[in-house]
Amino acid sequence: MSIQDELKSAITAALPDVSCVVGWGAGPEPLRAAPLFIRGEADLEGFSAGFLSVNNPALYLPSLKGSKVGVVVKGCDARSVGQLAAETLIKREEVHVIGYPCRGVIDVDKVAAKLAGACETGEVAALREDGDDVLLNTPKGEVRLAKKDITADKCGRCAFPNAGNADVFVGERCAPVVTEDGYADIADFEARGLDELKAFWEQEMSRCIRCYACRNACPLCVCRDQCVAMSREPHWLSQGDGVRDKLFFQIIHAVHLSGRCTGCGECERACPLGIPVLKLKRALSRRVEKLFGYKAGGGDTPPLLTFLVEEPTIKERDWK
């Protein structure tokens, strides 16, 4: 049986006990899938998991709290499920987790870069997977691209490709791409220097339209309707279009996620203007990992909700 079929059987098996299973189905264009809510076997028809399964279905779990639901997850999605459960934002026993080995997902922006000059991604009429490659039907003819060249950055540093906490796991577990996330990207980014980074964020954030897709795509942003980004009480942000306020929202998001972010990258993927907002969160994750050895998603208490009387890793300045 193919993984797809095995997953379908696993979903079918789960359906009687759950109100729905969240997975992926056909999207509005060939390069994009859409989250799929499977409520009955009829919905299974469009189901597919694989290279296009970019959305993190854990996003929907807190809003489905209160009834048992199923969810098909990639390794990174499973980390989100783990973190939500660790924070009691979902009840783990209310979620039936179906895992499968994930070998990476597409980054449409990378496809766009590959196709630049030839056509836009929106002109791709069909996508077909062929082993390690994909074949794209474009107005300029068929284009073959290696998957590794168009796979999301997060997949290149994936240490958890197999949902570790799955109730049902389908297929052969695959080897992690790396064993440790070295945060080399953040080190390189920081190496650009303070002046350049400040200018970088001014430039990037000036594109922000304050749509909050970053926030709403984040599975761990559970304040949602009550987010301080729009509230007046407390009044952290003006509603203006200035770079400072827009950047400050990203700071809020990053600080609220410090010690919680699993690095699923949905914030950055969701941004319609392509602002690399994950960088801020990764900078904090790197620090949290260094200080507390904590990788979000493993199920332990988030490090900022607890403490040690003696912090062996915190070297305080002695002001001598």
Binding site: I252, R287, L291
Partner: protein
């Protein structure tokens, strides 16, 4: 409000009421001379300090931010400073990636009896900020100057 041109830089302090604010009082009672730049926001406990207050000050134009609370084990509220320590220590990781010099933010512990320590902390932090000079302000222009232009 603008700083005293040429003399001062904008330095914001967040101090817990019980220890560090008291320590600053003790320093005052002892007439321990200090630089004039620092403006103190009094909060009940260092645990009250949302790291975002620090960021708000830095993004809003502060040249330096200093947080001070009770020494670990001596929090008036038993545990507030333990949480503060973790949160503020983590926050330091965010500054460089934003293009803010991490030396513009420090946190420390000063007890109500440590007037002299407070004088020392304020003097050295202020000197540190003056050595860094005024912080570059984040623009409010809708279209910032382009990179590489």
């Amino acid at each position: 409000m603008s700083v005293l041109e040429g003399k001062e830089l904008r330095i914001v302090g967040f101090l817990c009421n019980w220890c560090s604010y008291g320590g600053a009082d003790t320093a005052g009672v002892g007439r321990f001379t200090q630089p004039t730049d620092l403006r103190i926001v009094r909060v009940p406990c260092s645990g009250r300090i949302n790291p975002l207050f620090v960021m708000k000050a830095l993004i809003g134009g502060a040249d330096g931010v200093l947080v001070s609370g009770c020494h670990p084990r001596d929090c008036h509220y038993a545990e507030g400073n333990y949480y503060a320590r973790r949160r503020l220590e983590v926050l330091k990781g965010l500054l460089p990636v934003l293009g803010i010099d991490p030396r513009r933010f420090e946190y420390t512990w000063v007890s109500a009896s440590e007037g002299q320590r407070w004088q020392h902390v304020v003097s050295s932090f202020t000197a540190q900020i003056h050595a860094l000079g005024p912080a570059a302000r984040f623009t409010e222009a809708p279209e910032p100057a382009r990179l590489g232009a």
